[in-house]
Symmetry: C2
C-alpha cells in the first residue's frame, strides 16, 4: 500500500562557515532592541510530500533528494525528520 | 542565572499561497527521476542563541523577533521550538 509521508528536511550552513544572512539579521534584531539574542544562523526548511510504501523508503527518497539537489555539501549540512 | 538557549524558528509560506521556489525544486527533483515526491514547500529555518533567565523568557524573545523581523505575517507563518 502506498502512503503519503510528510518529510522535513532542514538545510543549514556549515558550523565553521560565515553566515552573512544570519549576521545581517542579528544586526537588525539588535537595532530593534532585542539585545539578548547573541547569534543567528539561517538555513532552509523544506517540506516534502513523498509517496512510498514505508517510512524507510520515504526517508531514503528524501535523503537522495537532499544529496542531489536540496543541499550543497560544500557549504551546507542537512537533517531529515519524518513524524 | 542567565542561561543560553538555542531556539529554532521555522518560517513557512502560508498554506494557501503559491510557493514558486518549491514548485521549481519539485520540477528539478522530477527531472532527476525522483517522481514519487509529489509536493515541495520551502521556507526558512532560523537558529537563535538567546540569553535568558528561563525558557519562557527565551520563547517570548524569539516570538518577538519572529513578529518584528523574521516572518512576514502577510505571506508566512512561524513556529518556535526550544529543546
Amino acid at each position: 500500500m502506498i502512503m503519503l509521508f510528510t518529510v522535513q528536511v532542514k538545510v543549514m550552513p556549515l558550523k565553521d562557515l560565515l553566515d552573512p544572512q544570519g549576521k545581517a539579521v542579528l544586526g537588525g534584531l539588535q537595532n530593534l532592541g532585542l539585545s539578548s539574542i547573541s547569534d543567528v544562523r539561517i538555513g532552509k526548511h523544506i517540506d516534502l510530500q513523498i509517496e512510498a510504501a514505508a517510512k524507510e523508503a520515504a526517508f531514503q527518497m528524501a535523503s537522495n533528494a537532499a544529496k542531489k539537489l536540496l543541499a550543497n555539501p560544500v557549504m551546507e549540512v542537512f537533517e531529515i525528520s519524518i513524524n
